[in-house]
Structures are given as C-alpha cells and as structure tokens.
Amino acid sequence: MKRLPMALGIVAVGSVILAGCSAPAENGDGSVTITYTNFISNDGNEQNLQKIVDAFEDANPGITVEVTTLPYSDYGTALQTDLAAGTQSDVFDLEYANYAEFQANGVLAPIEVSDPSVYRQSVLEAYQTDGTQYALPSSFSDVVLYYNKDLFDAAGLDYPSSDWTWADEKAAAEKLTDQAAGVWGDHQPVSFYEYYKVLAQNGGKFLNDDGTAVAFNTPEGIEAAKWLTEKSGTVMPTIEQGQGTPDFDTNLFKDGKLAMLHTGIWVFGAVADVPFGWDIAVEPGNTQQASAVFSNAVGVSSSSKHIEAASKWAEFLTSSDTMVDVRLDSGWELPPISDDAKLSVYLEKGAPENRQAVFDSLDGIALPPVAAAGQTEMQDIITEELVEAQAGRKTVEDALASAEQRINAVIGG
C-alpha cells in the first residue's frame, strides 16, 4: 500500500544499513569483480553489450564485469536510490543533463584516460570539470528531420534539404496535412528538449551565463515557443488526439500517416522496415541551424573499492575498437570517437540514405541548458507551461512569463 512517509524513511534507513554492506568483491586469487549498471543496452542491445564485456574480460584477465540492465524509464530513480543508500555499482551510466549535479556532489571519481585523442574532443570535454575528466562519453546521437518520401511525392513537393528553414517546413507541412484522410504534415514534441533547441535555432538563449535566471522571455523566445506550440491542431495532432503519449509519433510515421517527424537517430531501427520510402535531413533552423545532440556517459563511483579496474572498464566500454565495431555493426548509437575514417562505415549501412545528415547536424549544436540548481524542476516547469499554451489554455506570452517567474524562483535560490 501507499506507506508514503515510510518509503522515504526506508531510503534513509537503507542508506545507513546498506552503506556498511557493499562488500568488496576481491576474489581469493587477486582477481576482482566490478559491477556495471546501465540503461544503454536495454531493449535490444543486451547481446551487443555482452560482446564488449567478453572482449574486455579476454583482454584483462583477473577482472570480471557483472552487468545489470535497467529500462531507461526506471533508471534515474533506481540510480538515485542506490546513490542515497551507497549501493551504486562501480561503474554506472549517466546522462549529460545529470553530469554537473553528480560531479558537484562528489559522486564521481576522477578518471585517468590513457589516450584522450581517441575520443571526439567536444563530447569528451562535456564531461570535464576544471580540466579533470569525471565521466567518459559512451555514445552520442542527434535529432534529425525524418520524412516520408511517398507523401512528398504524392503532394508534388521537394524533399527537405539542409538549407530549409522553418518557413519551408511550415509551408510543406500545411500542404501535406490532410485531416480528412488522417494524414498529418509534421510532428515535433512540445517539451523542454525541443524548446531549448528551437530557441537556439532562433538565436535565443534559455539561461543567463551563470545559470541562475532564464533568458527566454524575449521576442525570439516567444517566436520559438509559437513555432512549437502552434503546430498542434493544424499540421500536428492535438493532445486529445493522442499527441504526447509514448511512441505515438513514431507509430504514426510507421503507419504512413505522418509526413515529417522530429526525432532522434535512435529510431532508425524501429522504422527500418516500413513499406514506403523515407529519409532524413538536418533539422531546419530559423535564423541559424542548431541540432540537439545527446550523449550518454559512464562514471566511476567515487566510493568504489576498485577504481582502477573500474576505470579500465569505463575506458574500454567507451573507446575500444570492439565497441566501435559492435556499435557500427548493429546501428546502436554512434561511438564517441574522433576517427572519422572508422565512422565512415556508418554512412554505408543502408536506410536512411542520407546518413551524412547525422554528421552534418553536428556543425551547429544546441546543448541543453544547465541550471545552477533545480535542473529537473526547471525542465518540468517549461514543459508544463508550453503544453498549457499548446492546449490553448494560456497564450504563449502568458505561459512564458509564468515559466520565467516560476523557474527563476527555483534556480535562483
């Protein structure tokens, strides 16, 4: 039942009791077992991760890696509970958005990287604080514009290209929408993750320089918010019609009922077998091009008894040739390496044809804003206010003004 004060208490008590019993896994013969908790392999890539583990164990006799895989939706809560109780694994996955908070709270051990040049510099630097590496990027991916070639052909329109702007996208979306036939022109989620990006595409900024106040309540910010929220009901389904529920957009695209879709390259696999032609393009910007880049990373627990072995595994998992081969072979997210020659294999892996767009998107990057405090609450507030505007219960101006006030109260204190 809902024993709520107790749930919290259990975390508290757990942290006292369990902290004492995370037994060091020192085996009798000097070999060690390290633990690794991840979400990156969940839902289809478990075997691929196992290949990397096997290769690591072969190359490092005496170190065994014990893997725990959790679904992404449960991962954050599970990790936070583990950290509170001191039961976290030696190595664990983290996201860029959480990195700053984890680092500041002393959760992460510094990692000595034997060969930093293997990594893509920009991605590697994202996990450095004051010049010290506290986590290693395990993959990166970006968001592109998917489009249904058949629908474009039927409407007699040119395919999206890298020089498109919002105006081009809007014009095409309006022509492609045929509500009577249940066909929609465009889909872009209304959320924090889209908003900071379209803001950058419009030359705006989400936060001030020290992350203590928002900077989006400007004419550019309002225009960007309108670009997101006004699709709903015109070229994109409304919330009442299902927009915003999990996988709604991908399924609509797979059913051939959606002409353009803004989503990440991690959906390649899911749409691979559709019975119509499709491709991708760099996301159109307004005043400039800006794409969302996401990277996952692994950190080594600062309380690990085997920091050295754990760091070795973290480095192998994020930079070894085995990892590169496995990821490129399987179409799992991109390896965070600097060697473009190795990555070129990726371009010839079949649909979508224009895989170059994945790399072209990296020319203009919008990184998520990181607040001085209250990151998650900030994200929740802006999403909630934008959805209010999308549903027509507030004007975009009112929603942004309300978001500004609420977020500043959270992150400024």
Binding site: L4, M6, L8, G9, A12, I239, E240, Q241, T376, V387
Partner: protein, 314 residues
C-alpha cells in the same frame, strides 16, 4: 486497498476481564506467550514502519538531495512548506479527490452489497467479478482507464457520441483529469467496499428484519431504520479506511496523469515523490510526509471521537 492493522484494531473484541490474580510464574509465562505471538508482526512493524518514520522525521530536518550527505537545517523545510502556496494547492487537490471518491465508492459499494445480499442467481460469481479490480494492479487498471477515457478514440467518448454528446477531454483536460481519476478509483475499490458491507449485512439478525416487516415497515423503512444503523460499524470502518487511503492517493495519479495536465492532479503523495526522486529535495519531502501524517491523524481522531454519535454496535 489494505485491510491492514487498523481494521484489526477496530474489530477486536474488548479484552476479557481479569477474573482472578494469577500466580507469578504463570503470569510471566502468559506475558511471554503474548510476546511470542506479537513478535512476527512487531518485528516488521518496527523495521519497516516505525524506524523509517523516525528516520523520516530526522530527514525532514535536513536538506538532502540523496547524493551529498544531509545538512541539518532545523525546521526550515516545514517553514518553507507552510509558506508555499503550492502546499495548499496539493492538499486541495487531494481533498477534491476524497470528496469525489468517498460518496461514489460508498454508495456504489452499498448498492452492490444490497443487491448481492439477495437470493440472486449466480451471486457468488458476481461477488467474485466485482472483487476482481480490487486485486488487479493499479498500473493495469490505470492503463485500461486511460484507454477507455481516451478523448479521441476511447470507448466512453465513442459511446457518448452515439447519443449526440461531445465527450470531454478527460485526463487531457485540467477540468476533467481529477474526475477521471476519481471514476477509475471508485471502480477499482467498489468491490472492497462491497465485501465489507456484505459481511456487515450478513451479520444482521434476520429476525430483526422479520419483526420490522411484521410491524409493517416497507423496504426503504427497513433500510433506514434497521439495516443502516446496524451496518454503521462496517460503514465506519469503510469511511476510516477510505479516507486514509484517499489522503495517500498516489498509484492511480502517477500512472494516469503524473500530476498533470498543468498540475491539476498534483496530489500530496505525488508531490512527495517528485520532491524526492525528481527534484532532489528529500528533506522537504519528508517534512511534507509528516504534515500529511498529522492531517490524517487529526482526521482519524475526529472520526473516532465522532463515531459515538452515529455508530451502533450490536
């Protein structure tokens, strides 16, 4: 719903009066026997209820993001909660839920219990059927109701459209999201209330009803003058349990709306969850837990004191 510890306390017969003084040795023996019987429930109660509550009280005096060590801040969390307008809003949402849910589930359960207390054919099967949702996971029930109440493709709005009614946006609309949760909750808990009231109905001596009938009392008269007064201990139990569960409403909110849209279904426990696991404010969440505990305790004490006015035993 939990029939838990409170139920046991409410229905325990009064302790037998001491008859004579026992010899000392046999008294010790008696005490030890009692303790031995209590131990199996006392140990988990201490480990999983009392100890966590006490440590939550300590956490409520700290600022703790679950990552760095907690920092003692005294009563700051309580002060912050009491001055934050959001606290009032989440308690109001919770109250809204209770006010909508309680009458619905009680009168629905009563109607079912009365109907299934007759010689209706196949009543055992029906009792089982109505009890099924009670033992079904909230996640499953929430998904089914989200689907039933889907604004555009749901069964409910489709049926409404056949009779010319343009159905509301249910969980997608701030004005209808809480009613959606209330309907789903009442549907799920109906069977539980029915079983408790059915047991109470069956404990009523048929001779009393026969006597009333002989005296010329009709069905309604018998219901109000005989059945409901004799059912009042069961009613009391149902109301106490439902109120406590109502204040702690969480699973269905988490699974159906997550507190949205626009924060319209943000109830107390959802806020406790968000504060702890999303916003890294476990201290504030613990303080809110204790505030909720105080409110529930206050309401329950009022009910127990007030029961003397309307509950008839025997």
């Amino acid at each position: 719903m939990s029939v838990g510890t409170l139920g046991a306390g409410l229905t325990t017969p009064p302790a037998p009066a001491r008859t004579e003084r026992r010899p000392r040795r046999s008294r010790i023996r008696y005490t030890l026997t009692v303790l031995a019987f209590l131990l199996p429930s006392a140990i988990p109660l201490t480990a999983f209820v009392l100890a966590p509550m006490v440590s939550a009280a300590w956490v409520s005096l700290t600022k703790w993001n679950l990552l760095a060590p907690p920092v003692f801040v005294g009563l700051d969390n309580y002060a912050k909660l009491l001055s934050d307008p959001k606290t009032g809003a989440i308690f109001l949402h919770t109250l809204y839920y209770i006010v909508g849910y309680l009458p619905l589930v009680y009168f629905g359960g009563l109607a079912l219990a009365l109907a299934l207390n007759t010689r209706l054919k196949g009543r055992s099967i029906l009792r089982g059927v109505y009890f099924l949702p009670v033992v079904t996971s909230w996640i499953v029930v929430a998904l089914v109701w989200r689907w039933l109440l889907n604004p555009s493709t749901g069964v409910v709005n489709t049926a409404l459209s056949w009779v010319g009614i343009d159905g509301p946006g249910w969980w997608a609309d701030p004005a209808w999201a809480m009613p959606s949760i209330i309907i789903a909750s009442a549907w799920k808990d109906l069977g539980f209330v029915m079983v408790i009231l059915l047991a109470g109905l069956q404990a009523i001596d048929p001779e009393l009803l026969d006597a009333a009938r002989v005296d010329g009392a009709g069905w309604w008269r018998r219901l109000f003058s005989v059945v409901l007064p004799l059912l009042s201990p069961s009613t009391f139990f149902v109301v106490v349990i439902s109120l406590i569960n109502g204040f702690q409403v969480f699973d269905q909110v988490y699974a159906m709306t997550g507190g949205g849209p626009g924060g319209s279904t943000q109830v107390v426990v959802q806020q406790i969850y968000d504060l702890t696991f999303r916003y890294g404010a476990a201290g504030e969440a613990s303080a809110l837990s204790w505030l909720l505990f105080a409110v529930v305790l206050g309401v329950t004490v009022v009910q127990i004191v007030g029961q003397k006015r309307w509950v008839t035993y025997g």
